[in-house]
Symmetry: C2
Subunit: 334 residues, 2 copies
Amino acid sequence: MKARKYVVKNHFNGIPKREDYEVIEYELPSLVDGDILIKAEWVSVDPYMKVFSSNFPTPYDQFGFQTGVVLESKDPKYPRGTKVVSHAGWCDYCVINPGKFTSDFEIIYKMPDLQDLSDSIALSAAGMVGATAYFGLLEICKPKAGETLVVTVAAGAVGSIVGQIGMIVGCRVVGFTGSDEKVRWLEDEIGYDRAFNYKTTDIDEALKEAAPDGVDCYFDNVGGEMSSIIMNHMNEFGRVSVCGCISAYTAEEDNFPKASTTQLNIFLKQLKIEGFIVLRWLNEWPTAFRDITSWIKSGEIKIKEHVLEGFDNIFDAFISMISGANTGKVVVKL
Amino acid sequence: MKARKYVVKNHFNGIPKREDYEVIEYELPSLVDGDILIKAEWVSVDPYMKVFSSNFPTPYDQFGFQTGVVLESKDPKYPRGTKVVSHAGWCDYCVINPGKFTSDFEIIYKMPDLQDLSDSIALSAAGMVGATAYFGLLEICKPKAGETLVVTVAAGAVGSIVGQIGMIVGCRVVGFTGSDEKVRWLEDEIGYDRAFNYKTTDIDEALKEAAPDGVDCYFDNVGGEMSSIIMNHMNEFGRVSVCGCISAYTAEEDNFPKASTTQLNIFLKQLKIEGFIVLRWLNEWPTAFRDITSWIKSGEIKIKEHVLEGFDNIFDAFISMISGANTGKVVVKL
């Protein structure tokens, strides 16, 4: 049986290019003991595919979450017909052996109970993205009712869920995003207290107005000067959850972005800043999926997906996501 | 009875100047219920006297720790003859009412048991300075045996104790300081594994050599680019204790120092950075004093004091400390 997969040939230099990938068609091996054959149904594209690229020697198979169904199985834990979420990446079919997983990047679990929502949700709000928002906010920022939460990349897949969990906790939520259309979506549909287009706004003035009592929690996706300015507004014992650093992702090594030093604020205001990779809570992801799914069903969390179709369009979906052209989570239906 | 005190007339602009102070002689009030009259014996000069200046409207009495003896008392908790450590500042005599303290900056406690060491130690290793090193390192960095600890301002009053507590824990300790003489003192007398003069050293190269297994704990007194470079060398789940930010202290507001953004390291390495003001552990200071005093007596911690004499020399002692001209803790004997 034939399968196709995207292989990364070259580490990305700036924005990934189509030539950095090769799509390979190959004959799947026959199943040996412990193997399962998965037919992919939905494939995810996410920023970490770029950020962590340099950790892997090329060529490597593009990793990433996908949902699928087990077509054949020699692993009794995943019998034929089981719906699974795995980190098998950008492929249409694959054979994997869960019992022999050795690295943190080899992951499989059964499809969570999505209460009739689309399986694609297992790649967004009820997947790694949702877990990132859930644990990154609740475990690191530890927001309390009445506090002010600031979110950057606020209309992104993670940021839009962070803000809504903040609202459920009872925070005042202020977001920064990259277009007026996204500002309207955040304020009018998602329900952020205030949102701003960072490209056309003085961040300092915006926070004076939108966070008059100061900022208690900051969910940081950008780093750089924007984060330095936000940290000027933080209250004593404020908490910062560092989930990403877009300002640095595309920088060349000898042109790394500079920003006002943050240590004076960290010291004087006794701030706590913590970075995280959501895999550290992998065993607790089901808790996040259960809560978020029920919040979606109750209407407390609204989600937006941007769906592209077809195996051949996965690369375009990836670039669309990286460029910030879309609002919400980009997923590909095979 | 006459007393003298230093009053800050103007907020400091850059290095404090003698004209920013006025020494006032005044008649002490007679004691009312709850008052105590203290004769100061040792007076401390510390960086936070500059850093926190702008929190107080001028004119204000210069705050700071001092040791002294109770000459008269209408507070049964501090009878005549009691040795006390208080935050009564740069004065020779004072009347205070401990029962009516309202601010965090009003502090008094009985002289800890110094096991025959000089009372001046209650202003350094067995005082706020020692508590800063003890809790800032142990509670925030949480160092473990075999880990590598980096300390900036390593020969300072706090830094030199931080490094030695790190050694007691079993860390490899690497320090950065501002002169070759201090490097020799740290390596030859204090026992740092390695020390470097940051003014004449490539920090990145120094760490490649001195911390080949990466940095697990960083006690940060400087901020700025030096801290950004050190954070490039940190290991996953590294901890940074932010105790100060010398790079920013003398900066003017429109010329705040810029440094390479740290968020990428914070995110990818899941670092935890926390700033602190040691008053948060005030109730636990006696534990630090007891441990540090016994470490001094056992020889595990070596201390160095730079003693100036006379009430009239407190300002000079302050400037000497700020300029970094001396090694170890600067104290004034009245």
